[in-house]
């Protein structure tokens, strides 16, 4: 089951580049948007991650940090990020595979990928909104922005 609002967000440290890691604690005091997605390189124009890059200014108004998470490795993330001109980190939930996705209740055993799922975590590290997207549906950014507004 996907973790719901009111639950303390599980801690994690994941690689984002060959020599850099990102921890949830790094962003204490700021809202965090955690966006799990199945795989880099989805074949649409502006996929979910591209859309978030596009609306980054809106997220910045809330001082929010956006983190993308999939089970892809860092090299795939680096190439994907460069290709789509992403302006936020992609985290590799790669080893042990899917461990963070599992902790948040959004790992799809059947495909071995993360589900499309979103979390808005408040300044104190508590989940304030979560959303599991139906199969194949890119959830967009509106739910995230509404949740950030409600953080106040």
């Amino acid at each position: 089951m996907i973790l719901k609002a009111g639950v303390k967000a599980p801690h994690f440290t994941l690689k984002t580049t060959p020599d850099q890691s990102v921890s949830l604690q790094d962003f204490m005091g700021r809202p965090v948007v955690l966006a799990f997605y199945p795989a880099d390189w989805s074949p649409v124009c502006s996929d979910q991650m591209g859309l978030y890059a596009q609306v980054m200014n809106e997220f910045k108004k809330f001082d929010a940090e956006v983190l993308g998470v999939s089970v892809d490795g860092i090299w795939s993330h680096l190439a994907f990020s460069k290709d789509r001109k992403l302006n936020f980190p992609l985290l590799a939930d790669f080893e042990p595979k899917g461990a963070v996705s599992k902790a948040y209740g959004v790992y799809e055993e059947s495909t071995g990928e993360s589900a499309r799922a979103l979390f808005v975590i408040d300044r104190k590290g508590v989940i304030r909104w979560s959303f599991l997207s139906p199969d194949g549906v890119n959830p967009g950014a509106d739910g995230i922005l509404s949740a950030l507004e409600k953080l106040g």
Binding site: S46, D47, Q48, V55, R84, K85
Partner: protein, 193 residues
């Protein structure tokens, strides 16, 4: 999976601000958020034309800008060009020409020639595009899309709800017919009495 999923709702209702084809009293309204440089929008362009042909007077079609500027360097230019033509009453001819010449976007000479053919003030368009004169309107389109669940391009709304099916003729027409039926023959908003 969440139960009782309903697709996101169009937060900015269709109104006088919009570029539309078909009657405001049409049975159902199809809204597209699109990017002139996006190949999937280019592929959807003839599909929309077919949909319009098939639905006839039952359909009102609205196009709103959603340029994905970080991926498409000419998308903003194209959106500005369409809006500048709209200011002279020729949105749809320019909209069509942009999609029909997607690979030539940004080549000023090609578009200037077309603008002259459409009897538009070519210099005014050039000046307005350079000044990004319609930036505020385009931004309003984009933000209305973001707040309505636009999640890439093209994104369609039928009867005020995001359409999550494929951008294919049969599927879109079926969804439009359903929406027209479920609103008792009056989908969308009536903007006239």
């Amino acid at each position: 999976m969440p139960d009782a999923y309903t697709p996101p709702k169009l937060t900015l209702p269709v109104g006088d601000r919009d570029h539309s084809e078909g009657s405001a009293d049409a049975a159902v309204t199809l809204v597209e958020y699109g990017d002139y440089q996006c190949p999937y929008c280019g592929a959807a362009y003839p599909v929309v034309k077919q949909v319009q042909k098939e639905m006839g007077s039952l359909l009102r079609f609205v196009f709103r800008n959603f340029p994905i500027t970080n991926a498409h360097p000419n998308a903003e230019w194209a959106a500005e060009t369409a809006e500048a033509a709209a200011a002279q009453g020729k949105f749809w001819p320019m909209h069509d020409f942009l999609f029909e010449h997607q690979r030539l976007l940004g080549e000023d000479a090609v578009f200037a020639e077309q603008e002259a053919k459409l009897k538009l003030d070519v210099r005014r368009i050039g000046r307005e595009v350079a000044d990004r004169a319609y930036n505020a309107r385009i931004e309003e389109d984009v933000m209305s899309g973001v707040r309505s669940g636009v999640n890439g391009t093209p994104t369609f709304f039928i009867g005020g709800f995001r359409y999550d099916g494929p951008a294919e003729l049969r599927s879109i027409v079926a969804a439009l017919r359903d929406a027209a039926k479920s609103t008792g023959g009056r989908g969308g908003r009536r903007s006239r009495g």
